[in-house]
């Protein structure tokens, strides 16, 4: 019961701090804390509405920071997020595509999807969503997310206490197993990222070289691979570039002449 006691003692502060930290992008997990708070509410050691309110407030504060960053700094915030992401190839693009398709409703589900969670608020800022609309949808999303985990914790409080006791009995062993699994996963991601960066670095062309060759009249093909959102926010392209969605590549790669050099760019 160590874990639950810890939550009881520092109570609401933990709920607020962990959720806020998670929303800001720290590797914290709000869901288990909310589950614990829900379970404790069932036995009267916690007041669920307060926990829900605090969790929602933490979400709104953390997400608003990213939202404002997105509004003010635009696409560079996304590039930064992409750089620190462990999946630079797909992280932001996947989010952008989802956003373009579903608009503000993405905010309702983003908290449930690990990859979407951190990227959605700044993206809402980048595409210029009005503040009131953002706050409304983000609050609803926070309500759904925090409410669900608190509710589940409330409903399954006795089972959760059993799990907590089981963990306490297994003690350090269980902790070590979890740590090793997480460590292996992160290690694998880092290796993948290194490999990706190495291959990517291979044959990059500098802007100067491309410019020189374009003005020299060389038959180059420039392909713009930015998502619609990125390209739309920027509103410009390198002269003559072919704007192509990466998913269209398989279908449209016949359009790309084989006998010329291809220069790809994103943001």
């Amino acid at each position: 019961m160590e874990g639950l006691d810890f939550v009881v003692r520092h109570g609401y502060l933990i709920v607020f701090a962990v959720v806020l930290g998670e929303q800001l992008g720290l590797p914290l997990l709000g869901a288990p804390v909310l589950l614990g708070a829900g379970a404790l509410s069932a036995t009267g050691r916690f007041f669920a509405p307060t926990a829900l309110g605090l969790a929602m407030l933490a979400c709104l504060v953390g997400d608003s920071v990213w939202f404002q960053l997105g509004r003010r700094r635009g696409a560079s915030v996304l590039s930064f997020l992409c750089k620190i992401s462990l999946e630079p190839d797909s992280c932001v693009r996947r989010t952008e595509d989802t956003f373009a398709r579903h608009g503000a409703r993405v905010l309702l589900v983003a908290k449930f999807v690990p990859g979407l969670n951190t990227v959605t608020p700044p993206l809402a800022g980048v595409v210029g969503m009005p503040v009131a609309r953002f706050v409304r949808f983000d609050a609803m999303g926070a309500f759904l997310w925090a409410g669900m985990y608190l509710g589940l914790g409330y409903l399954f409080s006795s089972q959760l206490e059993m799990v907590a006791m089981g963990m306490a009995t297994l003690g350090r062993g269980a902790g070590v197993v979890v740590a090793v699994v997480v460590g292996l996963y992160l290690g694998w991601k880092v290796v993948q990222r290194q490999r990706f960066l190495r291959q990517h670095r291979l044959a990059r062309i500098t802007p100067e070289e491309l410019m020189a060759r374009m003005t020299g009249g060389e038959p180059l093909v420039v392909v713009d691979l930015r998502s619609d959102i990125h390209a739309g926010v920027d509103g410009t392209r390198i002269p003559g570039a072919l704007h192509l969605h990466p998913d269209e590549l398989a279908a449209r790669h016949q359009d790309i002449p084989r006998d010329r050099e291809i220069v790809l760019y994103c943001s």
Partner: protein
């Protein structure tokens, strides 16, 4: 993406260093681009 193109048989592929941001930073020319699917998002 460059790797996927290579797999499709397009060998002479080179990513632009720094992307469009790098291009902008050098002050090289661009032309306007309108993306239709964006309207209605915000």
């Amino acid at each position: 993406v460059a790797l996927r193109l290579r797999r499709l048989g397009i060998v002479r592929v080179r990513p632009l260093l720094g992307g469009i941001d790098g291009w902008h930073a050098k002050g090289f020319p661009v032309e306007p681009l309108v993306v239709a699917s964006l309207s209605g998002v915000a």
